[in-house]
C-alpha cells in the first residue's frame, strides 16, 4: 500500500492548539509521525528581556493560554528566591487556591476535550459549562476570566473579595455531587472506553529518556513524583492530599488519573479555605517607583507542578531593572515535541487526535 502523507495539521478539529503533526499513513496505521512546531512563536523570551520586572507580570501569563496561573507562580517564586523574600502567610494560601482552581479548570477542559476525538460532544458541553463557572469565579477574584496577573512577586495583587468562599464552596459541592455522573458519561461509557484503552502507551523508559513529567510520568512509573509532594512550595506541606499513580500508562489510565486529581484538588481548596489566616497579602519587592525595582544578580530555576507536568522558569538577572534572560521550560515540551515520534507510530489514524488531550499538550508552550 503506497504510504500517504497526512496532516493533523494546524487547521484540524482534532488539534486543540496550533501545531502541525505530519503523519505517514499506510492504510489506517501511522508509520512515522513528527511535530512541526513554531506556529505560535512570538519571540516570548526576547520580549521578557525588554520588559522591566514589574512590567513582565502582564506578559508572563500569556505563555500558555490554557493555564496562565502556573506561569505567574513560577515567575513570582523565582524572583522571591533571588530576593530571599518571605511573603505573608495569607498570600501562600490564596496562591494555592488560585493554582488548584486553575488545575480544576484545565482538568475539566482536558476531560471535555476527550469528547471531541471520541465523538462524545455531550461530555464536552457539560465540562465546558462547569469550567465557565470557574472562569466566573476567577473574574470575581482577579477581574479577568483567563489572564489573571494576580500572583505577583511579593504575594498576591489584592485580597480575596468578600463572600467569595460562598461561591467557591457552592461550586465545589456542585462539582463533587456530579463527579460520579461525569465518570459514567465519560470513562465508563462503553464506546469511549473501547476507544481509549490500550492506545498511545507510554512505557517507563520513554519517560526517563524524554523527560516526560506530570500525569504521564506518574501513570507510567508508579511513584508519587509530584512537585507538590517532592519539593513542596507555598505551604503544600501543610495540606493533606494524595497523588494518583498507576503502573501502566495508556490513554485510559491517564484520563483516570486526571479525574482523581480533580477530587484531590477539591479537597485541597477546601482545606486552604479553612486554614487561611488573616493578614496582609503583599510585600513590596523594592523601594521607590515600581518600574525601577531591581533584583539582585543570580541564576535561579523555579518549578511548579502544572496539570501537564513540571513547569519551570529559568531566571537570570544581572542586578538591573530588566531580567537579563528568562527561559521557559514548558511541561509539554518533552511529551509534545519529542514524545510524538515515539508513541504515535503503530496506532491508528483515529487515535492521533486522542494524543493531544490525554497527554495534555499545550502548543504555545513548545514554541513560546
Amino acid at each position: 500500500m503506497k504510504e500517504m502523507k497526512l496532516f493533523l495539521g494546524p487547521q484540524h478539529p482534532g488539534m486543540h492548539g496550533n501545531a502541525s503533526v505530519h503523519m505517514y499513513v499506510d492504510g489506517d496505521i501511522i508509520k512515522k509521525s513528527f511535530l512541526l512546531p513554531g506556529m505560535l512563536h512570538r519571540g516570548f523570551e526576547k520580549g521578557m528581556e525588554r520588559h522591566s520586572w514589574i512590567n513582565n507580570i502582564s506578559l508572563i501569563p500569556r505563555v500558555c493560554v490554557v493555564e496562565p496561573d502556573i506561569n505567574e507562580m513560577a515567575f513570582a517564586m523565582g524572583v522571591e528566591k533571588l530576593l530571599h523574600l518571605e511573603i505573608p502567610e495569607r498570600a501562600h494560601y490564596i496562591r494555592m487556591i488560585i493554582l488548584e482552581l486553575a488545575r480544576l479548570s484545565i482538568h475539566l477542559m482536558a476531560y471535555g476535550g476527550l469528547g471531541s476525538p471520541t465523538g462524545l460532544y455531550t461530555l464536552m458541553y457539560h465540562a465546558h459549562a462547569d469550567r465557565n463557572t470557574i472562569l466566573n469565579i476567577f473574574e470575581k477574584i482577579t477581574g479577568h476570566r483567563v489572564y489573571h496577573m494576580y500572583i505577583v512577586p511579593g504575594g498576591v495583587r489584592k485580597d480575596l473579595p468578600q463572600g467569595i468562599e460562598k461561591d467557591i464552596h457552592s461550586f465545589l459541592d456542585d462539582l463533587e455531587s456530579r463527579y460520579e455522573e461525569y465518570r459514567d458519561l465519560g470513562i465508563n461509557n462503553p464506546t469511549v472506553l473501547a476507544r481509549i484503552t490500550d492506545t498511545i502507551m507510554l512505557p517507563a523508559e520513554v519517560v526517563w529518556e524524554l523527560g516526560v513529567t506530570g500525569i504521564g510520568m506518574r501513570s507510567a512509573v508508579n511513584k508519587a513524583y509530584d512537585l507538590r509532594k517532592v519539593m513542596p512550595y507555598a505551604r503544600y506541606d501543610q495540606i493533606e492530599f494524595d497523588v494518583p499513580i498507576a503502573g501502566y500508562s495508556d490513554a485510559k489510565t491517564r484520563v483516570d488519573c486526571k479525574l482523581q486529581e480533580v477530587v484531590q484538588s477539591i479537597g485541597i481548596i477546601r482545606q486552604c479555605l479553612a486554614k487561611m489566616p488573616e493578614g496582609d497579602v503583599k510585600v513590596p519587592i523594592g523601594r521607590g517607583q515600581s518600574m525601577r525595582w531591581t533584583v539582585p544578580s543570580g541564576h535561579v530555576y523555579s518549578a511548579v507542578e502544572s496539570s501537564r507536568g513540571e513547569f519551570g522558569y529559568y531566571i537570570v538577572s544581572d542586578g538591573g531593572t530588566h531580567p537579563y534572560r528568562i527561559g521557559v521550560r514548558g511541561a509539554s515540551y518533552p511529551q509534545g515535541l519529542l514524545g510524538i515520534e515515539k508513541y504515535l507510530p503503530g496506532t491508528r489514524l483515529d487515535d492521533a487526535a486522542l494524543w493531544v488531550d490525554t497527554m495534555g499538550v499545550c502548543s504555545p508552550e513548545i514554541d513560546r
Binding site: P13, D28, S116, T122, A129, T191, A353
Partner: protein, 301 residues
C-alpha cells in the same frame, strides 16, 4: 403516468420538508440534553438555503456529476416510498428490493464524487462509508428476509398492511430480536453516533464532505435529508406497522428519529474496525436466531 410521477415528486418533497423540520426540532432536543438551548427549529432550512446561495469551487466534472447523480438517485428512490398504506405514488412498485438497489445508486454517486475531489481524507472517508454500509447490511437483510418470508409479500405497503390486519401486531414486538437488529442497523444507516466513523470530524475532517462547499454541499445536505427520510420511513413501515393516516405516520417518524438522536448523543464513536466487528458479532447472531425461530419453529408473538 404523469400524475404518478408528479405524485412521486410530491412524496420526495414532503419527505425532505418533514425530515428537515424533524431534524431541526431534534437539534433542540439534543441541545437540551447538552444543557443549552438549541437553534431555531427551521435552522436546517436556513443552513441548506445558505449553502445553495454560496459560490463554490469545483474539482473537475466527476466531482459535480457525482453530486447530481447522488441527489437524482435518492430522489428517484424516495418517489417509490409509500407514506400510508393507500397514499403511494406507484401502485405496485414499492418493493423492498427497489429501495435497497436504488439507495446504492445514491451512495455510489456520492462515493464517486468524493474520491473525485482528490483529497486523501475524502477517499479515506469514502472507504469507511462503504465498509460501514457493508457491515450493517448483512444483519438487516437477514431480518428483512424473515419478515418477507412471514408476510409472503415483499412490497413495503403490503407488509405494513399485514401488520395492521394482524391486530396492529407490529413486527417490532412480534420479532423482538429482529426489532433490536433493525434499530442497530438503522443507526448504522443514518450514521448516528456509535457508527459515525465516516463523518468523523476529529480524525478525517468530516470525511467525504471535505472538499464540498457552497452548492455541492447544499445538494449533499438535501440528499442526506432524503436518505434519512427513506431509511426511517422504511423502518416505520417494516417494523412499526406503517400508518393509516399521515398524522400517525408523522408521529411514529418523529418518535423513532428523536429516540435515535437521544441515544446517539450519549455515545462516543467507534473506530472502523470496531464497527465491523460489532456488526458481525451481536446483531448477526441475533438476526440468525430470530430467522431460525421465526421461520422454522414458527414462534411469532
Amino acid at each position: 403516468m404523469i400524475l404518478n410521477i408528479l405524485f412521486g415528486v410530491g412524496v420526495a418533497f414532503f419527505g425532505f420538508v418533514l425530515q428537515t423540520t424533524v431534524a431541526g426540532v431534534n437539534r433542540k432536543v439534543v441541545a437540551r440534553v447538552q444543557k443549552r438551548y438549541g437553534p431555531k427549529w427551521y435552522q436546517e432550512f436556513l443552513d441548506i438555503f445558505k449553502l445553495l446561495s454560496k459560490r463554490a469551487t469545483t474539482h473537475g466534472w466527476i466531482f459535480d456529476f457525482g453530486v447530481i447523480m447522488a441527489l437524482g438517485g435518492i430522489i428517484g428512490t424516495a418517489m417509490f416510498m409509500p407514506i400510508t398504506s393507500d397514499l403511494v405514488a406507484f401502485e405496485n412498485f414499492d418493493n423492498f428490493f427497489i429501495f435497497v438497489y436504488l439507495i446504492a445508486v445514491g451512495m455510489l454517486g456520492m462515493a464517486m464524487s468524493a474520491s473525485g475531489s482528490g483529497n486523501p481524507l475524502a477517499s479515506i472517508g469514502v472507504m469507511r462509508a462503504l465498509t460501514t454500509m457493508l457491515a450493517y447490511e448483512v444483519p438487516f437483510m437477514i431480518v428483512v428476509i424473515t419478515i418477507i418470508k412471514l408476510t409472503g409479500t415483499s412490497s413495503v405497503s403490503g407488509i405494513a398492511e399485514f401488520q395492521q390486519l394482524a391486530g396492529n401486531n407490529w413486527f417490532m414486538i412480534a420479532l423482538p430480536l429482529g426489532g433490536i437488529v433493525g434499530v442497530m442497523s438503522l443507526m448504522g444507516m443514518l450514521g448516528k453516533k456509535p457508527f459515525e466513523t465516516y463523518i468523523a470530524p476529529a480524525e478525517i475532517a468530516s470525511g467525504p464532505m471535505v472538499e464540498y462547499g457552497g452548492k455541492q454541499l447544499g445538494m449533499l445536505f438535501i440528499m442526506h435529508e432524503i436518505t434519512v427520510f427513506i431509511e426511517v420511513s422504511l423502518f416505520v413501515h417494516l417494523f412499526l406497522g406503517g400508518a393509516e393516516n399521515i398524522l400517525l405516520f408523522i408521529v411514529k417518524y418523529f418518535l423513532v428519529y428523536t429516540a435515535l438522536n437521544i441515544i446517539s448523543s450519549v455515545y462516543g464513536r467507534f473506530k472502523i474496525d470496531q464497527v465491523v466487528l460489532f456488526f458481525y458479532k451481536w446483531p448477526l447472531i441475533m438476526a440468525v436466531t430470530q430467522a431460525f425461530i421465526a421461520i422454522y419453529l414458527g414462534w411469532v408473538i
